[in-house]
Subunit: 263 residues, 2 copies
Amino acid sequence: MAGGSSEPGRSVTSKVLALLFAFESGRRSLSLSELAEAAHLPLSTTHRLVAELVDSGALARDPQGRLQLGIRLWELGQNAGRALRDTAHPFVQDLFSLTGETSHLAIREGHEVLYIDRVYGTKRVPRASRVGGRLPMHATAVGKVILAFEEEWVRDAYFHRHLEQPTAYTHINPVRLAEELAQIREQGYGTTAEEVRLGSASIAVPVFHTGSIGAGLGIVVLSSQAPTMLRHLPTLRGISAQIERATAHIPLETLRASAKIGG
Amino acid sequence: MAGGSSEPGRSVTSKVLALLFAFESGRRSLSLSELAEAAHLPLSTTHRLVAELVDSGALARDPQGRLQLGIRLWELGQNAGRALRDTAHPFVQDLFSLTGETSHLAIREGHEVLYIDRVYGTKRVPRASRVGGRLPMHATAVGKVILAFEEEWVRDAYFHRHLEQPTAYTHINPVRLAEELAQIREQGYGTTAEEVRLGSASIAVPVFHTGSIGAGLGIVVLSSQAPTMLRHLPTLRGISAQIERATAHIPLETLRASAKIGG
DNA sequence: TCCCTGCTTCCACTGGCCGGAACCGGGAGC
DNA sequence: GCTCCCGGTTCCGGCCAGTGGAAGCAGGGA
């Protein structure tokens, strides 16, 4: 049988990328058939391309023969995030050392917050965010802070969407959220309590760059400790100011590019 | 003009991967021409493929139009390393908290050590290793420790190669190195002093799994503090034992796969 | 104005890609 | 032991997506 009948015009490049990005779902390993389905490719095509990806180290097989992302891709990703970590990470580490609580830094990526860096110890806190992971903005403290200080059209666009509700405590009423954001702008920090995951609460402050919002810096605590987390506010503000000072000399464009790409 | 004349038989997949892996060199950004050269591809082919990679978010353009790895690839890489970090990272973080020194965990990948995790503060120590980065085994403390406890044929194979000499202090005499490794096996730890980079010293202990060497756990200090770094040995051994306990229940195969792939 | 360098566009040819179908292997059920 | 089933692997000839040399373009320096 001649090939190329179904879905013609799809480039090889897009197929290769579809195979790699199939792992974005968060699934650790996929069988060949699962991968083919996820990438919307015929099994035999998947088989052929996967063989080449495995050869090159982009994908790898686990002991059961299932497919995972290869170590070479992991290395590549680490390389990509290098510039970013080099500038921001020491501060996040400091925040953790000073507060003893899980500390993280996030930026806006489309309609979600993307966690750029995260420092945590052995203390067990219900965990929702992870480095390289995304969460809805309105459910997280860092996200609310970013949204609060974003330009108005970003907020408008955000509210004109369906708002997810990860837990029963997540605020999804646009009017109420708008009020909350106004308050965040006034007081200079935002909080969440069990809005993204039961059992954890969070507080965050904005990190500005040349006058506009650049990122959100926050800590996560057990929700039972939520009432006392405000005591960390001065520390958060101090570290935020340090980051602002350290990045002030970097042109906005470059910073955004390196925050988004890390190159 | 007909295409496909030079270097026929090269698959599109391999070209796409060559473009991505061109950034393994550590260069943060490349111009189109540089990328074409690094990937050994004609300029116009590069141009076309790059356009698609940029569209999909695998590559990105910085403000100057130069090419970098895209944030989506960074996210993917984070995803790949997830299982690994989830198990090992808290211990490395503990090691840092207890010693206050840059702490790292590495495994063997071929003839090099691959840094799997690393925790560091604002303290400035001349830095050679980074997460996702590789260094020669004979120049680093973690590498020597791993090599020392590896099976004999691994050591033999290693010495039958040209040994790099990053600094004037790097030991590259096979006989002397073999003696050093024997001593490491006896005393249960290894050190380096300015062998990988001037100004820094390091001490490391082995992490075993089901009787064989699994990883190396170490700290880095300023070389001026090298004489006192032995005081951290009990801490290193304690954390190493914790990691061994925490990973003992995981089958070796699975562990190796997840250490190497992180799925 | 001219040159040079790096990037973008063009286009006719063609060989690498395509994927349905056949085949294989091993585990579960009878 | 035989059969079924289900993932994975192999096969192969038609054909169109990919090809890359060459021409065109933009911009900056002399």
